[in-house]
Symmetry: C2
Subunit: 202 residues, 2 copies
């Protein structure tokens, strides 16, 4: 009656080390490993694990989108996210995707093993510190379009390009940017992008 675990992380060093540590626990068995988002999904389909432990940042597709796919295709498989840089918005998106555990990589392996068991039992676990951050950061004050435009502005593109990609007029883009900037209380759109990123609102 051991818990079958899928491990997805692009860092071979960590994945291997983690697999070794989890293998020490009698009731956990790592049935598959993956280094990318798509690979994680394929492995999940092939091995049908009880719990999928996903890194947030992976090449191909991030942990949250993999979790969404898994929830749709394999309802019996619980998912959890492990991450180095836990930003408030990620937690929110993750919970919306049906993720049942969200922990930073600063926890110890024993803790992780316990949390895997918790998640497998159908309960949830969210790192208290990340939860506090998420609550204090609150919800996005931006409307959907404002966030969308801000995201397109993220790589420093000029307004004309943003307008084209969003199929909006340049004036409208500038209005959205302007209102986003004033809502966030920052100097200009670039600072707005940075802040929104930090808060996980984009």
């Amino acid at each position: 009656m051991s818990v079958r675990v899928l491990l997805a992380d692009d860092e071979h060093l960590i994945r291997g080390a983690l697999a070794a540590l989890l293998a020490l626990e009698d009731d956990l068995v790592v049935v598959a490993e993956a280094a990318t988002g798509p690979e994680a999904l394929a492995m999940a389909r092939a091995h049908r694990p009880d719990v999928a432990v996903l890194d947030l940042q992976m090449p191909g597709a991030d942990g949250v989108s993999v979790a969404t796919s898994i929830r749709d295709e394999l309802p019996g498989c619980r998912t959890m996210i492990v991450t180095s840089h836990g930003r408030p918005g990620h937690l929110k998106r993750a919970l919306a995707a049906g993720v049942r555990g969200f922990v930073p990589k600063t926890v110890s392996a024993q803790r992780l093993a316990e949390i895997i068991r918790t998640v497998h039992a159908g309960n949830r676990y969210v790192d208290p510190e990340l939860a506090a951050d998420a609550i204090s950061a609150g919800d996005t004050p931006l409307t959907a379009r404002e966030a969308e435009v801000l995201e397109l502005a993220a790589d420093g593109a000029p307004v004309s390009e943003i307008a084209e990609r969003a199929a909006l007029s340049q004036g409208t883009v500038r209005n959205y940017l302007s209102s986003a900037v004033s809502k966030l209380g920052v100097e200009n759109r670039h600072a707005a992008v940075r802040l929104a990123r930090e808060r996980g609102w984009v």
Copy 2:
């Protein structure tokens, strides 16, 4: 005659797992662990390891600056960097700091163990892919002031603020920014900042 290793990484999960894996190697012994830059330095002073394995990004002080301090204070201790996001400029800075090994976290634990031995023997090891990136990225085309101004521009501050912080006139700041932008062949200063970051030139 085993190699005494210091392990510094802010992610407890990884550090612990790594310590466990390295402990499996007969000739390696982890004598100290640290989660922050200053802690790593203190541990190095206290335990005088043969090899210090440092994460690039840690709270307090990054791996390269810790390596610099170690080189100055403990000449007998070799240093190496392990990182998730290997950017070309980091490699350069690291080598300048006397670091003898530079590897991404995508390597396996066995490889890492081998590399620790290599480094301990006084040789160097640089991940071939990172080395190739560094060579193809080449050296910064920016002058010292251009880079400085670009760095101040990094958080989206307006020219007036940059000028103030750099004690330059606004016109001069704009000139530097302009020349940096044209040298990097990008659209505007924000894209320039991003590119320079990516290449590790700031």
